[in-house]
Amino acid sequence: MDAQMKRGFLEACVLASIRTEDSYGYRILRSVPDVLGLTESTLYPLLKRLEAAGHLTVRSVEHNGRLRKYYRITSEGRARLDEFVDEWDDVQAIYRFIRGEEARGDA
């Protein structure tokens, strides 16, 4: 998959994985679809970037005598996610065109 496209998908998937409840790094890593090939070392900069953009907030929680970081989505993060989903119709139209299923204008 194209690197840029993957980056966009990964950001959306990470946000989606914390949409309903706060989560921590390892669980986020597990929940993101395998095809995107997310690893520990790519997840870290990704979370940092989303935090810097205000899409999520971080807090440390004590867990089994060590600290674990939990990530919570912000309203900006939710808005970004909605925006991403709204783009789906456009993406589908482009995809259909690439597959040659649909000519422009008429069908």
Binding site: S41, R66, F84
Partner: protein, 212 residues
Amino acid sequence: MSKMGKREFLEALRCELAGLPASEADKSVAFIEEMIDDRIEDGSSEAEAVAALGGPSEVARSIVAELPPIPKAIAKSKTGSASVNWILAVALSPIWVTLALVAASAAFSVYVLIWALAFSVWLVSGGLLLGAPLGLIMFVYCVATGMPVVGVWQLGGGLLCFGLGVFCLFGAKRASVWFIEASRKYAAKIKSLFVKAPKSGRFDEKGAAHEG
């Protein structure tokens, strides 16, 4: 790197990240440590958890690859330790300080240029608008000194300038919006060399780096 322990792995990773600022390197290592601990809690052995990450240099490479251009360049110029980097930075300062100053002043002059252009458009319209009061003064003066025809000519010229000035004012307003936008984009461009912003807007938008 067979059967590397957690401590050993994290220490090796810390060395690989020596080019980063200390606090940044510590945070990256802490994140990876949390991941190892969670993997062990999930049922892996320590060796398995570490092996799943790949080699320390591999992990360091992908962390560094995600940095914006300038911190990445600093981190990649790895000499093994931050102190060696500092000594080199000081020793080579006559070169890089000069280059940095040149780069900074070039960046600044583009900024000034954008604003000088915006300012000059406003100045032109201001000058033209001044035509009306000046024309009026000349008219009064000429009439008072017994040259009414010249006076009317002066007034007409002044009003023409005023009209052009009003016209220019609309142009200046439009231009200013454009200049503000241009300088904002320019500032963002400069900033992106140091800080990597997440993709705002559409996901197919062009980002900075292509690694990964």
